[in-house]
């Protein structure tokens, strides 16, 4: 069984806000080297790895995101005050008091200009307190991931954006016997609306595309009810903000899960734009499905997941690729 603690921890610790996926790109390319041989980085920052099989039954594209949301410095004041703009879906109200990490290693703490109790806070009110002279306009930061594991539960700020890449990296080493030509795409700028991924496969066609991501899981109470559970198995996606999965593709994945006795859940995530959705509707269109790993709290400065879901997602992908 895959060492999910090590793999996910590595992905989580790597730096990479959208457009600045430096650390995570290095982690993916290094991790792929031992599993699938070479891979390419295109000029948009996507990582692409291809595995071909003589007499393949068809071509499959597997996509997961590289990046995570982050902050960019737009103005530096004296005394170590940096004004920032969000890169991707970060909510100002979740950031006050949060520790952030800059690409160069500097640590900052997010603060608000005035008492925000009861009032709306937005980025105009926020600043990052950093040691004076450590950051410049254009520098980027992420919420410090603070990865930690406790048995089968893994904690980190960026799991919603990194769990998919961890699973795809693991899969790259376990494709023996897969009858398809498989292309792995680790996409840049996914968290800002899935901008860059599709550029990596412009002009190509695939018989199937699977988009691997995460979905908000089983909160407990109030309006946040939902039936997707951490530990309940991979979630076969029916819909996201950019994608409605066609019934025959859902049936393919459900069939794969059933035939191997893999627990699975069905889910929708109306708020997230995926590379899969963008791929489905650009150029001549592609048949796209999605599998999501349940993550508790997909927005905000901390999240957790269950390693069994990573393992079962890997098994479901292998099963689907053998169908």
């Amino acid at each position: 069984m895959t060492d999910w603690n090590r793999l996910t921890g590595g992905a989580s610790a790597a730096f990479g806000p959208a457009g600045f996926e430096t650390g995570i790109r290095r982690w993916v390319t290094d991790s792929l080297a031992s599993r699938i041989g070479g891979c390419d980085v295109d000029r948009n920052g996507n990582v692409i790895a291809r595995r071909s099989t003589p007499g393949a039954k068809g071509r499959v594209l597997l996509v997961a995101g590289l990046d995570e949301p982050g902050l960019m410095v737009t103005h530096v004041e004296e005394n170590g005050v940096a004004r920032v703009a969000p890169i991707g879906p970060l909510n100002a109200k979740h950031l006050v008091g949060v520790r952030v990490r800059f690409e160069g290693g500097a640590i900052g703490v997010v603060d608000a200009e005035h008492d925000i109790d009861g009032g709306a806070v937005d980025f105009a009110h926020l600043f990052v307190a950093v040691p004076a002279g450590t950051v410049r306009v254009g520098d980027t930061a992420v919420v410090d991931p603070q990865f930690e594991s406790a048995g089968q539960i893994l904690y980190a700020a960026n799991l919603p954006w990194r769990a998919g890449a961890a699973v795809l990296v693991a899969l790259a080493g376990e494709l023996a016997g897969c009858p398809y030509d498989v292309t792995f795409l680790f996409s840049a700028q996914r968290s800002v609306g899935a901008r860059a991924g599709r550029l990596a496969v412009f002009g190509e066609t695939f018989d199937r595309v699977l988009d691997i991501g995460t979905v908000a899981a089983a909160p407990a109470a109030g309006k946040r009810k939902g039936s997707v559970r951490p530990g309940g198995g991979p979630v076969i996606r029916a819909l996201d903000h950019s994608l409605i999965v066609r019934p025959e593709i859902k049936d393919w994945l459900i069939g794969a899960a059933r035939s191997r006795g893999i627990p699975y859940q069905m889910g929708v995530k109306p708020d997230e734009t995926s590379d899969g959705g963008i791929l489905a509707m650009t150029e001549g269109g592609l048949p796209v499905g999605g599998i999501d790993i349940p993550v508790y709290r997909t927005c905000g400065p901390m999240s957790y997941l269950h390693t069994s879901d990573l393992e079962q997602t890997l098994l479901l992908l292998k099963a689907a690729l053998e169908e």
Partner: protein, 356 residues
């Protein structure tokens, strides 16, 4: 094999359930009718139905006529204790129209359900003043939770149940008049096209997923790569309290759209043809991208000269969308006469904005 039979077939179309991403029933029926009319039919990976009508002569330009075949709907998000279903919208659903609606849940089989909400007796006075949000609504299948879980999964589609209603004259009401009305106009158009000599090839695209962001048309236009594009969709008709420049008159004939989304020469051609053929038409001006497939067709590849026609309906995005079939017939007629007027030299002039 069934064939297009005018108004009756239109009413039949309104009985088919096909929310965005789940258009297979409508696609199958339209494909069958297109084949019966002698068109070559193919389906692309997103589910668009592309039906080709061939003109005569050499060097024929290709005209894409897009009519979206999806409708707004709902999708099951969760199954709650007791077997009640929570839903998310597919497309621009107004939750206020759903309270006490009857629905069909497309599970392993089609199941009838009703949309429930907290009764007024149990609501606070503040709650009663506000519209019920979708999160507070649920679908009741009248079945035990265990049975619901056997039959329904999160991700299953839900549509509003409504048999079409025939009103006075040729007026009909129902769900999915947006945009089955335009599919009907295409078949009315085909009846006329057959009596003309056409110097273009026409690809009629019954497109998917318009209601969630013109996704099908993006793919269809890219694949077909037409010289000229047109979208036929519904537009708002006047009704009490609703008037002004964003509406047209029901029974007044097709709306011809004008604005940045529309190629000026195609607009002029439509107006000229309508006058010559005695089709009564109405001007509908817009200041940006239209809310139709035309918004993306115009921007496909190097840019495509695009036109848009609107069929007036009342109560858009409800289950009682109301249309006058005479408007559908006239839209089909205008479309046919316009197509018959397109040829290679005209189409080639559409990229020239520098006439001295």
């Amino acid at each position: 094999m069934s064939r297009w039979r005018g108004f009756e077939s239109f009413l039949e179309l309104l009985t088919l359930d096909g929310p965005s991403g789940h258009e297979h029933r409508t696609a199958e029926r339209l494909g069958e009718w297109f084949r019966a009319e002698g068109l070559e039919v193919e389906t692309d990976p997103l589910g668009n139905v592309l039906a080709r009508y061939r003109g005569e002569g050499g060097g024929r330009p290709v005209v894409l006529v897009a009519v979206h075949m999806d409708e707004i709907g709902l999708m099951v998000r969760d199954i709650e204790p007791g077997g009640f279903l929570r839903v998310v919208p597919i497309g621009g659903v107004d939750p206020r129209t759903l309270v006490s609606a009857e629905v069909t849940v497309h599970g392993r089989r089609d199941l009838p359900g009703v949309v429930g909400a907290k009764p007024p007796h149990l609501s606070t006075p503040e709650e009663r003043k506000k519209a019920v949000p979708l999160d507070d609504l649920f679908v009741d299948l009248g079945m035990a939770e265990e049975a619901v879980r056997r039959e329904v999964r999160p991700g299953d589609a839900v549509t509003v149940r409504r048999q079409p209603v025939r009103l006075l004259g040729e007026v009909a009401a129902g769900k999915s008049v947006d945009n089955r009305a335009s599919a009907a106009a295409v078949f009315e158009c085909l009846q006329i096209l057959r009596t003309r000599r056409i110097a273009a090839d026409v690809v009629f695209a019954a497109t998917v997923q318009e209601e969630v962001g013109v996704r099908g048309a993006a793919v269809a236009a890219y694949r077909v790569r037409p010289d000229v594009g047109a979208a036929v969709d519904v537009c708002h008709a006047r009704s009490p309290g609703i008037s002004g420049d964003r509406t047209v008159q029901m029974g007044g004939g097709p709306a011809v759209q004008f604005g940045p989304n529309i190629h000026p020469a195609l607009f002029r051609k439509l107006a000229e043809i309508a006058r010559a053929a005695g089709v009564s038409w109405q001007l509908l001006v817009g200041q940006g991208a239209t809310g139709t497939d035309a918004r993306i067709i115009q921007l496909t590849r190097e840019g495509i000269p695009t036109a848009a026609l609107g069929i007036p309906i009342r109560y858009m995005h409800t289950s009682v969308e109301t249309v006058d079939y005479r408007d559908i017939r006239e839209t089909g007629r205008l479309l046919a006469e316009w197509i018959a007027a397109l040829d290679r030299p005209f189409v080639e002039g559409l990229t020239c904005f520098l006439n001295d």
